[in-house]
């Protein structure tokens, strides 16, 4: 099977002491929207820089549409659109001037460049700014322009590294909406972020990276299922007293309890019958239960559990 993006045992070392990537292997299918998450310094940007030909791996291979990025960067990079970190812009140019240059780099014809500039600027809502100096743009507008540059040549794969970094809520919403559109158009999107909400809202699959290693990888459904298996959120009529919290902790099937005001998150073995038992115990112990379910459990919990497992392993 030909993957849109694939890496084989990527290793990147800086000097003798620091290993930024330690054998990262990824397999991303065509049309997938994949979140690449991990704490700062996990190696996300290093992976992306290798995938986009900015740096070379110390060992291992990175392929885009089956083409080795290091061996044949010209061919591989033709199929990629990228937004990496917070790139600078040419303040003194207009979007048309900048995009025209990049259109030529991608060997687009003059007519095609004209048409795509109009289309992409319309998509990122910058049509009226086509002939204005980029230096006068807000941060959000500049970011949208860079996304327009990334998709100008209709790439199969879009690689986004922290695309909402430094944006205001409106800017974040705009970028999120654009990613949804790309997903609907069937584009493969590889989204690196440490903002889990962004990832949860737009991605089908999430890869977790920590200290240069992939620590977990699953579909959003899979993550949801595993969360449902081990966590239950209980909402009570009123805030719990210390005595009541101790009573919760004393329930034998409950492994741990996180309490905030009138809500408690109970961690257990994930078996459905255990969940039923816990609910029975709550009712029989005269807890005033308003709701009992998994609504609150999300990617953040999964992230914390995956990263803390890793910490423990280390």
């Amino acid at each position: 099977m030909e993957y849109a993006i694939r890496t084989e045992n990527l290793v990147k070392k800086y000097g003798k002491d620091f290993t930024a990537l330690d054998g990262v292997s990824l397999q991303i299918k065509k049309g997938e929207v994949v979140g690449y998450v991990g704490p700062n310094g996990a190696g996300k940007t290093t992976t992306i820089k290798i995938l986009t030909g900015l740096i070379k791996p110390s060992s291992g291979h990175a392929y885009v549409n089956g083409i080795d990025v290091t061996a044949n960067p010209r061919k591989a990079l033709r199929t990629i659109g990228a937004l990496i970190e917070v790139p600078g812009v040419y303040d003194y140019l207009t979007p048309r001037e900048m995009l025209t240059y990049f259109g030529r780099v991608y060997r687009m014809s003059g007519d095609e460049i004209d048409r795509r500039i109009k289309e992409t600027l319309e998509l990122v809502r910058l049509s009226e700014w086509e002939h204005k100096k980029i230096g006068t743009f807000s941060t959000g507008m500049q970011r949208r322009l860079i996304i327009a540059k990334a998709i100008l040549h209709r790439p199969d794969n879009l690689i986004l590294d922290e695309p909402v970094l430094g944006l205001d809520p409106q800017g974040i919403r705009d970028v999120r909406e654009l990613i949804r559109q790309f997903r609907n158009e069937g584009m493969t999107v590889f989204l690196s972020s440490h903002l889990l909400r962004e990832v949860a809202e737009v991605c089908n699959t999430v890869i977790f990276l920590n200290k240069g290693k992939v620590v977990s990888s699953d579909s959003m459904e899979g993550i949801g299922r595993s969360l449902e298996l081990g966590v239950v959120d209980v909402k009570f009529l009123k805030s719990l007293s210390q005595e009541e919290i101790e009573k919760l902790r004393a329930i034998e099937l409950v492994r741990s309890v996180d309490v905030k005001d009138a809500t408690a998150r109970l961690h257990y073995d994930g078996k459905p019958e255990s969940s039923v038992q816990i609910l029975r115990r709550l009712v029989s112990s005269n807890f005033e239960v308003v709701s009992y379910g998994m609504e609150g459990a999300g990617l953040e919990d999964y992230y914390v559990s995956v990263m803390s497992d890793e910490k423990g392993a280390n």
Binding site: T52, P73, R74, A76, G88, F102, V105, I146
Partner: protein, 267 residues
């Protein structure tokens, strides 16, 4: 064979694109119009005191072309490499299907072309002035040779600044270091060598004296009442062949080492 030909064609086309883009940037940043305006305005200053002969007028006006070349090289090549890294525009430019070497070669050629244009404008203005003051028949016969020498020195100056742009991190530093290296450091070294009776034949700024020397009026010769005190400078005048070879060597070594550093530079 076919693949190799395609690869060469790709390299040429990408370099052409990069040259084009850089020249647009020099225009839009108003650097090219400003330096070009200087090239036209500076010769006009010499109307203040007009010498008796066309040769001396040409040599006097051309004694300033060295400064203009260094200013131009610093303006167009100073941020050619490190500017992309410092401003992080490298993150826009590099993840595209073009080789880094073609991008940086294009930047070098654009800086060279911009400097050539400035030198051409300076010589054109000076030629028109000479013709207006002394008549077309009085234009020095060796002016073409001087112009070609100025172009070769331009290549050397651009290469030196380009090398610093690749070596250093900040555009402001590379621009200043490049400028001072050509305007001060090399000049001081040449002066010290001459004071101890050594010809500084390997110093490119000394070779640049050929620009006026070929007209028969040496720029090594200081003008003014202190002429006697500077007799040490009169002893030496660059040999044409050696001087041109030195300039070409600086141009090649500066460009090649600058490119080698630039393509290996990482964010």
């Amino acid at each position: 064979m076919e693949i190799r030909r395609e690869s060469i064609w790709n390299d040429v086309f990408e370099t052409y694109l990069s040259v084009n883009f850089e020249l647009v940037k020099h225009l839009k940043r108003r650097r090219l119009p400003i330096v070009a305006a200087l090239a036209v305005i500076v010769p006009l200053i010499f109307y203040v005191k007009v010498p008796d002969t066309a040769d001396v007028f040409a040599a006097t006006v051309l004694s300033f072309v060295n400064i203009l070349i260094v200013v131009s090289a610093a303006m167009f090549a100073g941020d050619a490499v490190c500017g992309e890294f410092e401003k992080k525009t490298s993150l826009l430019l590099f993840p595209t299907p073009q080789r880094r070497s073609t991008i940086f070669a294009g930047k070098y050629i654009a800086a060279l072309l911009a400097t050539f244009l400035v030198v051409l404008l300076y010589y054109l203005t000076m030629t028109l002035q000479t013709a207006q003051l002394y008549g077309w028949g009085e234009i020095p016969a060796e002016l073409g040779k001087s112009f070609l020498t100025a172009l070769i020195y331009s290549a050397a100056a651009v290469s030196v600044v380009y090398f610093f742009s690749a070596l250093l991190k900040r555009p402001i530093t590379s621009t200043i270091v490049g400028f001072l290296f050509l305007m001060m450091i090399l000049q001081v070294v040449a002066m010290v060598l001459m004071l101890v009776d050594q010809e500084p034949w390997f110093i490119v700024t000394y070779s640049a004296n050929l620009i006026t020397d070929v007209l028969g009026v040496s720029s090594s010769l200081p003008f003014g009442p202190e002429e006697e005190e500077h007799a040490w400078a009169l002893k030496f005048s660059p040999d044409f062949g050696v001087g041109i070879a030195v300039m070409v060597a600086y141009a090649i070594v500066g460009f090649v080492t600058g490119m080698a550093i630039a393509v290996r530079k990482e964010d």
